[in-house]
Amino acid sequence: MNPRDEFTGQSPAWCPGCGNFPILEALKDVFTGLDLHPSDLVLVSGIGQSGKLPHYTRANTFNGLHGRTLPVATGIKLANNRLTVIAVAGDGDCYGEGGNHLIHAIRRNPDITLLVHNNQIYGLTKGQASPTTDAGTPSKTQPFGSISSPLNPLALAVSLDCSFVARGYAGEREFLVELIKEAILHPGFALVDILQPCVTFNKINTYQWYGERVYRLGEEHDPEDRLEAFRRSLEWGEKIPLGIIYRRKGTTLEEQIPVITETPLVESPFSRERAVAEIEAFR
């Protein structure tokens, strides 16, 4: 069996031309590139077009509720830190419904990679504004346009001192592959916000729109400089930077929990005898 075939899943139900396809392919490249096995990996997703992704590859999968990927992923990682845990989310999923979990996952810093398929729209529910939708964009639920100012996930993550913050683009698959690899290899919570054209509902942020704006951060950018990272994260509009915006060293959640030792929790021994004997403390 050719390793890439190992990751062949169900056939996708996305629209033809959807920006999710290159992300799916990139992910398969990453898995083979890092020599992962479907049973070493857990993909955790929510509900949305992105949430379907795990079904289209092959790995341990928990496709849970809309917005709740990160708590599930954290529970999995704590129970078995030997697994490579990847959370796959949509922009509505992760920055809207699940916003609180993002903040606190960043604070906890588990060694999880979060891929946000940021199409700046609610795809699966047919085109309402998401938290990243450009201000003013009208939709059927907001006929006068989206009023809230769009959320800047990278700035948010930098402000919370997230241990790895990057932006990828579905239109640059090779680059995306490298980015996701780095995110997975980085020890700690890694956010990769992926610009993902939605060819059906987002008629503003198209392949062309992104293509004209994205550029790759070069050597001159020092991702360890937090202030600089914050400045870069604010860039949006004429120029949109791709690459690792911010990165820092730090201990992960798992490393800080003394209960987790060399053996993952799920394999660590438990003495029922000793547990039962705790009753005597009540005497």
Partner: protein
Amino acid sequence: MEYTIRIAGEAGQGIQTIGSAIGRVFSRSGFHVFTHQDYMSRVRGGHNFYQIRVSDKPVSSSRRGVDILIALNEEAIERHHGSVTSSGLVIYDKNFIKKDYDQPGYLHIPFEEIASEEGGNRIFSNTVATGAVLGMLQIDLEIYTGILREVFSKKGNKVVDDNIKAARAGYEYARENCNECSFSMEANKNRPLLILNGNQAIGYGALVSGCRFYSAYPMTPSTGIMVYLASKALKHGIIVEQAEDEISAINMALGASFAGVRAMTGSSGGGFALMVEGLSLAGMTETPIVIAEVQRPGPATGLPTRTEQGDLLFLLHAGHGEFPRILFAPGSPEQAVYLTNRAFDLAEKYQIPAFVLSDQYLADSEWTFESLDRDALICNDYRLKSPGLSGPDNYKRHSITPTGVSPLAVPGSITTPVITDSDEHDEEGHMIEDAETRIAMVEKRLWRKLPAIREELSPPLYEGPDEPDLLLVGWGSTYGVMKDTILELPEEMRGGFFHFSEICPLPVSKLGEFLETFRKARLTIAVENNATGQFERYLRAELGIEFTHHIRKYDGRPFILDDLVHAIEELIKEGGRE
């Protein structure tokens, strides 16, 4: 021999320290103890009390009448002096509360003065007070000094010694000055009893069931479960994670469970309300989980530190869509240990959510019991961990089996991926939309599993005469008070009671005895700590039975023994009419 001791004062005065020490001294001395707590939702001030009933026979509820009132402020005397029995005594420090009750039934003990003089610091006042109570009851001080040693050993010898000095001084003072003291606790032959409260019992039940992951957001009165497990975390290898909110708490626990460890979450009603979507997720993904819900009066924030049995129907029907669940409502800490253990076992065996439903009254009440039946604690591992399962076709997370239960593999322990989905899915776990698979999966989750689950549950517990005339029926935390009530009722009433602790799914085939007794009883009284009679309604829906009466309490306080006895007598006086 039976006494009731009430310690009353404001939050922050150390009422709990005194109360739990006295309770512990009694239980170590082999006496039976029942304690309950009444406290406000504030950190300092207000008015709280802690009540201890001690006896040489088992006790399982509180009385109205107080034998010894330890009044830590004037308000305590104003509020509670009426509850003190004619032979009872109020002890207080007239210097501290700045009022002298120089009259029979009142004993001034200069707690602060003794503490400063003997212990060297007035912070030992509570130790003095505890010593004084023990002196009044003529209980050997040894046990208390042992407890002080355990509690303060971390703070060094001096603190231990000062405490012991203070305790002894209080003890002596009481013995010398208590002329009216007619109390006496005969030395007890029993060996030390176990004493624990409902929250500790659930925590301990989880511990012995191999719970390795507990995620929760703090919420009164459930936080004690988390505190207990956190205190055992390092020793027994448990991850206790404080979540950012209850939604996260349940989803984390589901993640951990999916990854192969036994997982639990807990909260009170308001926090559980936020877990409802996650509950439904457990139902769809067939992920085992145990959920402790420790009730307090609602709706909304309600009365955060008080008690009610107001969430039963909510839990029985919580979650969109249809899926099976188990609900246990223990009646005592002892039951809580076994039922929490059973909840873990059945949650994993059938891959469904299981509730342990408690309330503030049970959570904060301490009971004594002799020992634990270790053999009754189950510890089966239902997970599939054979590394032999390889290849894409061998393992399907949701395969349809005759029992409806699919093999539960640990991701990473087999070569085939383990897949599940909150969408309706096929046997492998992939999302589907067709009608045939949908029907098959609904039937797998519901109809195949339910009959077997039903058989696992036990019928209600009965205590009382054969063919009782008067039958009390209750569930959850009313167990103890029903038990004591039956004994207090005049014998000619022929009163008995059924207590349901295994509530859902009702083991209908095992309810013959219950139904027969129920039909034959002249007065059937549903006893509930809520306003709408939720359990009564549940039995009507499940069994089509009608009670002749009910007694309901919804003031945020538990049933007190004397009050329940009185309420029943009133019912009977009214001629059994309703």
